[in-house]
Point group: C5
Chain length 353, copies 5
C-alpha cells in the first residue's frame, strides 16, 4: 500500500516547494556523468553538481544520473542551470507520481516506475525514475543506488549497438526500454507463483492457500496500478509533436509501446486467472464440505434408527412379550440389518456411494 503519510507532509506548501517525500535511502547523493558521441567518451563518477555544467555547452550527448533525491540544493542547482520548471523539480522529489510524460518545450519530463528484483534477496523493488530529455542531454533521477541501466552503460562504453551513433532521444529510448524489459522478469516471477498455486489447488488445498491467493491478488492489483498508465505514457511519447525526438527513434518507441501493451495484457490476464483460482478454491472447499456431510449423513441415518431399536429393548417394562421370545434377539438383529441394508441401497440409488 502506498505511503500517503509522507505525501501529506507537503499539504499546504506553495507549489514548487521542494520536499522529498520518499524514504531517505542511503546517505549521500551520487551524481555520475557520461558524455559521448560516436568518437569520444568521457565518464565521471561521484561528482559535484557543478561539474556537470560544462557538458551543457558541447554537442555531444550527456547522461547525468542522480541517485538520491533528499538534497534539494542539488536539484535546485541543476534546475537553474538546465532551465527546468519548478513543478518538474517538485515532481522529481515527490516519489508518489503516477507514470506520465510532460512536454515543457525545451525538454520532456518522463516519470516511470522501475520495478526489478533485488539481485541479492530477489525481493521486488519499486522505485520512481524521473527522466529528463533535453536537446543534447538526458538526466535520470533515482531514489537510491542500484538500477537496471548497467547493460546500457556497458553498451555505451564498448560502443556496442547503435547507441553511440545516435543522439539523446535514442539514449532515452534505451533507458525506457530497459525499464519496460525488466517488467518481464517480474511477470515471469508471478508466472511461476501462479503455476505453483495451481498445482497445489488441484491437490488437497490447505487453508493457507487462501491467504497466499489473496496476497498475490493484492500484489497484482498494485502492479497493475503501476503498469496501467505506462501504455498511455509510451503512446503519448510516440505521437508527441516535439523536435526533441527524431523520426528514426519513433519506430523504436512504437516497439516499446508493443511491449507496454503486452505487459498490461499479461497483468490483466493474471488478474482473471487469480480470480478464477479463488473461485476454484472456494468450490473445492464446498465440494469437500459436501463430502464430509455425506459421510456424516450416511453414518447417522444408518445407525440412528437401529440404535433406537436397541434402545426399545433396553427398556425395563415388566410386560414386554418380545423379551421372552426365544427368537426375539435374532429377529431384532434381522430387522436392524434389513434397515441398514435398505438405507445403503437408497444411498446407492442416489449416487452417494
Amino acid at each position: 500500500m502506498e505511503d500517503f503519510k509522507k505525501r501529506s507532509r507537503k499539504k499546504g506548501l506553495p507549489p514548487g516547494t521542494l520536499v522529498y517525500i520518499g524514504e531517505k535511502r542511503g546517505d549521500g547523493v551520487r551524481i555520475s556523468v557520461i558524455d559521448y558521441d560516436s568518437e569520444t567518451l568521457r565518464e565521471k563518477e561521484a561528482v559535484h553538481v557543478e561539474e556537470c555544467f560544462p557538458f551543457k555547452m558541447e554537442k555531444s550527448t550527456t547522461w547525468i544520473n542522480v541517485d538520491g533525491l533528499h538534497k534539494k540544493e542539488i536539484l535546485e542547482c541543476l534546475g537553474k542551470n538546465y532551465d527546468l520548471h519548478p513543478l518538474t523539480l517538485e515532481d522529481i522529489m515527490n516519489t508518489h507520481q503516477r507514470p506520465k510524460v510532460e512536454d515543457f518545450g525545451n525538454y520532456l519530463y518522463i516519470v516511470l516506475k522501475m520495478i526489478y528484483l533485488h539481485p541479492g534477496d530477489s525481493t521486488i523493488i519499486t522505485e520512481q525514475v524521473s527522466l529528463i530529455l533535453g536537446e543534447n542531454f538526458v538526466m535520470t533521477f533515482q531514489e537510491r543506488e542500484g538500477d537496471v541501466f548497467d547493460p546500457i552503460r556497458q553498451r555505451i562504453k564498448e560502443g556496442k549497438g547503435s547507441v553511440r551513433k545516435m543522439h539523446a532521444d535514442y539514449l532515452a529510448y534505451c533507458l525506457i526500454d530497459s525499464i519496460v524489459d525488466n517488467y518481464f522478469s517480474i511477470l515471469e516471477r508471478y508466472d511461476e507463483q501462479i503455476d505453483n498455486l495451481e498445482d497445489q489447488l488441484l491437490g488437497v488445498p490447505a487453508n493457507s492457500l487462501l491467504n497466499r491467493i489473496y496476497a498475490i491478488k493484492r500484489e497484482v492489483i498494485s502492479l497493475r496500478k503501476a503498469v496501467w498508465p505506462l501504455r498511455e505514457v509510451v503512446s503519448l511519447l510516440e505521437r508527441l509533436e516535439t523536435r526533441l525526438i527524431e523520426k528514426k527513434t519513433r519506430a523504436y518507441l512504437r516497439d516499446i509501446y508493443d511491449h507496454a501493451i503486452q505487459v498490461v495484457d499479461t497483468v490483466d490476464t493474471y488478474r482473471e486467472i487469480i480470480s478464477g483460482m479463488h473461485d476454484l478454491y472456494l468450490s473445492n472447499v464446498s465440494n469437500r464440505m459436501n463430502e464430509i456431510m455425506k459421510i456424516l449423513t450416511i453414518i447417522a441415518t444408518i445407525f440412528i434408527p437401529i440404535t433406537f431399536i436397541a434402545g426399545i429393548y433396553g427398556m425395563n417394562f415388566e410386560f414386554m412379550p418380545e423379551i421372552h421370545w426365544k427368537l426375539g434377539y435374532p429377529v431384532v438383529w434381522g430387522i436392524m440389518i434389513t434397515m441398514a441394508a435398505l438405507m445403503l441401497a437408497y444411498f446407492r440409488k442416489n449416487d452417494w456411494l
Copy 2:
C-alpha cells in the same frame, strides 16, 4: 447517503430562485476580503457585503470568501454587482451539486467538494465549495467556517511563494490545489483502516468485521462519487479556451490533473481491495465452517456405531447367548476399539486429521 429531502424543497420553483438546501450551519454569514498585488496587501474580516464592491474597480487581485450560504440577500447583492448569472447563484446555494466547471464568459464557475478531517475530533467533513474566477477577483463560497485555505492566506500575507506575483487565476489554482491535496489525508486515513482490517482478517475474523468492511465499502462508494467528476473538471479547466486563465498557470493546472487522476486511481484500487477483503472474509468463514463440520463428523462417525453396539448389549432379551459368555465383555470392547481405529485410519487417509 445524500439528503434528497432538502433537494426536493426546490421542486417546482422557477429556475434562478434562490433556496438554500443545505443544513444551516452556524449562525451568521461571514465575509472576508483579501486584496493584494505584488506590493500592497489589504485584509478585511467580517465585513458587510457592500464593502467588497470598491475592490472591483482596482487592478489588484481580490479574494472574497463567504462562509454561510443561507442568506440569499447577500448572494443577490454580490450577484448584481459582479454580474453573475442567476443559475450560478442558484447553484451556489444548492449544495448537492456535482463537481463541475462552467464558463460564463466574464467568469468561470467551479464547484468542488472540500473533504477534510475536522481538526478536533477528526471526523470526515464534506462541504461544497463554489469558486468564481473573474478578471481580477476570486470568490469562494463555503457552507460554514473552517476550511483548508489557511496556508494560502498565510502565504499571501507573508509573500511566500509566487502567489503575490501572479494574478487571480493563480490564486484559484492555489485554492483548488489545496482542496485536492487534502484528499490525500483522507486517503491516508483509509489506507490505515484497510491495513488494520487486513491484519484482523488474517487472524480469527470476528463477526463484527463484516459490518466494518461493509461500512468502509459504503464510504468509499461515496468518496468515489465525490472524486470521480474531479478528473473531468480539472481536465476541462486545463483545456478551456478562456482569457481568464493565463498560459503560465495552465502548467500548474496540469499538475492538479495528475493529482486528481492519482486520487481517482487510488479510490478505485481501494474499492477493489475492499471487495477482495469481503471475499477473503467469506472464504475464511467457509473454511472455519468446514473445520467445524469435520470435527463434528469425526466425533459422530466414531461414536455413533460403537454406541449402537453398546445399545445392543443393553437389550433385555432373555435369550442372548453373548451375555453369558465369559469373554463377552472384553470381546465387545475389542470390536469397538477396532471400529474406532478403522474410522480414524479412514479419516487420516482422506487428510482429515
Copy 3:
C-alpha cells in the same frame, strides 16, 4: 416489466400507422391551451382540437397540452395542421419509446419518461411525455391527466420568474426541468428505503428481507433503464444546431444536463449499494449458519462420547468386573466430567466459545 404484448399489436402494420399501444387510461382526451406573451395571457380548458389552430398564426407562445392518446383522429388533425411527420405521430402513440430527441427541422420531438409519486397513495407512476417544440409553440402529450407541470402553469399565470418574458424554447426547458426535478423525489424515496433496509440488515435479518432487497434491485434496474438515456437526450439538446433554441436558453439546458448526470450517478450508486446489501445479507446468513453449527457441534461432541460411556455400563454382560466395584459409579462420573472438560478446553483454545 414492460408490456410487450401491446407493443406487438403493431407488428406488420405500415410505418406511420397510428396505433395506441398503452393502456387506455381515463375516458376522454382533454386538450388545454395556454397562450401568452409578456403582456397577454389566454387560457382554454377542454377544448376541441380545432380551437388550437388560430393560435398558430400569432407571435405569442402557445402551449398545447393533450391528456390521453387513444384517439388517433385528434393526433392526425394536429399533425396535419402543425406539419408533423407521420413517424412523430406514430411515436407519440407508441408509449414504449426510449427517451430521445429528434430534429425534424421545423420542430424538435422530445420523448421523456415522467416519473412521479401519485399524490394520493404515493405509488410510483411512470408515464411517457412527448414534447414538441416548434417556432412559437410547445405541445405536450401525456397518457392521462395529472402531471408535474402545475407549478409551471402557476408561474405562467402569475407571471412569476422569467417564463413570460422568454419564448417557446424556455417553456420547453421549464417542462423538461420539472420532469427531471421530480426524479429527485423518487430518489429520495429510494434513499429512505435503502436506509431502512440497512438498519434492518445490521439487526437480525429476517428471511423476508431478501425478497425486499430483490424487489428494490428490480425497481432500480427499471429506473436506470428509464433514466440512462436522459443524459444523452439532454446533452444532445444542448449541442443541437437548431434555430429553435436560443443561445440564452442553452445555459439553462446545461443546468438540466448537470441534474441528469446527478440522477444517473445516484441511480448507479444505488445499484452498487443494493448489490453490497445483498452480499452483506448473504454473509450474515453464512455467519449465523456458522454459529448454529458451532453450537450443534459443541453439544454433540461433548455428549456423544460420554453417552457412549453410559451406554457401555448399561450393557447386561454377566461378567463385567467394573459393575461390582464399589467406586465404579463415581469413577465413571469422573471420567465423563474430565472428557467434557477437555472438550471445552479444546473449543476455548480454538476460539469457539
Copy 4:
C-alpha cells in the same frame, strides 16, 4: 450453440467459392418476384431464375425473394446478371454471418438474423436473411420458406401505406423494420417466462428451477449475440453516404435505430434480471438450509443432553445410590425438563424460534 462443423467445411477453399454451410432445409429453391410502381403491379411465384432478368431493365421496383440457398448455380446466375461481388455470393451461402452492412457501390449488402416464433408450435426460429438493395431492386435470400414479410406483400398488393409510392430503399426499410419488429414478439415471450420464473422463486423454489434459469440465461446470451450487432448495422445504414438511400427514407431508418437500441437495452436488462434471479435462488437455498440446520440443532441440543442423563441411570452399577431413592425418578424428570427449558429459552433469546 452455433454449428461450426459446417463452417469448417469451407476451410482451405479459395475465397469466393460457393459452399452452402447451413442445413439443407426443404427441397427446392423457390424464387418469387414482385414488380411494382405506383400504378402497375406484377407478381410471379416459383419462377426460373432467368425470368427475373427482364425486370432489371425497367424503372419499376423489383423485389426478388429466394427461399433456399443450397443451389449455387442459381446464386451464380443472379450474381452474374446483377453484377454482385463474389464475396457477397459467398456470404449469402455462409449462414453463420454476423449481422452487417457492406457498401459495394452499386448495391448495399445487408445481413440480418430473422428471429420469429414458428406459427405452428411456437418454437423460436432463427434464420439468416441476406438483403441486397440495388438501384431499383431488392433481393432477399432466406434459408427456407416461411418468413415475416407477408404483411409487406399484402401492403404492396393492396397499395396500403406509402410503399407503392416510394422506391426500392423504402421497400428495404420495410423489410428490415419487419424483422426488427418481430424481435419484440420474442422479447414478449421472454418477458412472460421471466415473470413466471419470478413467481415461482418467491414460492418454494424447486431444484428444477435452477436448470430453467440456466436455460433461459443461455438463450438470452445467444439472443444478445444476434441482436447486439444490429445497433451498429442500422446506425451505419442511416449514416451511409450512398445514393441508394434517399434522404426521405433516412428518417425511417432512424426510427428502426431507436427500435434496435430498445431491443438491445431490453436484452441487457433481461440478462441483469436473470442474473439477479440466480442470486435470489441461491440465497433462498441458503436460507432454507439455514432453517433446516436450525431445526436439527434445536432438536439435537435439547435431546442429546437429556438422553445422556437417561443413559446414566440406565447403567448397571451395583452401587448407585440415586437408583434406590424414592424420589429419584421424578427428580431426574425434573432435571431433564429444566435443561430442555433452559435450552429453549436460550434459543428464543437468540431469535431462533
Copy 5:
C-alpha cells in the same frame, strides 16, 4: 502460460540484437520459394538463402517461406537483401509478440498467431507467424514445419481461384484468411467440449467436473488473449494508407475483419457460458448439500426424541411406576409413533418430503 523465462534472456541487450527466444523446434531451417505470375510458376524446396535473391528483381510474385527461426545468420542475410528494419528482424525471432501490423514504408510487417489442431494427435498447436508483404514478394516465418497453408500452395500450383491472377497483397490476404479460418476449427472443438460439459452438468455432477471447467476456462482466457488483438490488426490492415495493398484486395480484407469479429464474439460468448456453467455447478453442489442435510435432519429429528423416551424407560430406578403398568409398553410405543407422525406431518407441511 507464456514462457517469460525465454523472454527475459533478451534483457539488457541492445535493440536490434537477434536472439531467438522460442523453443528450438526441429533441426535445420527450411526455406522454400514459390514464384509465379498468371502464366509461369517456379517452385524450389529447401534452398539456400542466397537462392531467393534473384527473384527479387523480377515482376512476378515471390513467396518465401522460412520454417525455423533459430539461425540468425539467415535472417540477417534476408534482412540485408530485402532491406528490412533491424526491429523487424528482432520481432521475427521474438516469438512472444502480440499480434500487430507495422508499416515500414517499403513493406508491411504482420504478426499473427497460427492456432491449429495437430493432424496426428489433435492437440492444439500455437505458433507465431510473421508475414512480410513487400512490393512483389511475401515472406512468412514460422517456428517449425507444418502449417495451414497447404491448400494455398495447392491453389497456386493448380491455378485454382484467382490467386495466380492477383499480386502479392492478394497472396498475403489468402495466408491471413487461412490462419483466421483455422480458428473456427478450434472454436468447433470448444463448442463440443462445452456441450459435453453441459450434458454432464445436468446429470449428477462429479467432482472432477470442476477441474475440467477450470481447465477450459483457463484455455479460453489464453485463446482470448491471442485472438483479441486480431480485430485491431485486421481493421488497421484494411484502413492502412499504403500503396502495397490494392483497392481490389481491401474488400477481401473487410471479409477477414468480419470473421475476426465473429471469432472474438464467440470467444467472449464462451467465457460467459463457462462462467455460467461454473455458477450452475456450484448451485448444484449447494442443492445436493441441501438435500443431504434434509435427509439427515429428518432422520435425526424423528429418532432422537423417541430414542430419548426409550432411554427413559431403560433407567434402573427402583421406583418407576410406569414400568409395572400392564399397558406401559404399548402406551410408550403409541407415544413414540405419535411423535414420529407429528414430525413427519411437520416436514410435509414445510415441503420437505
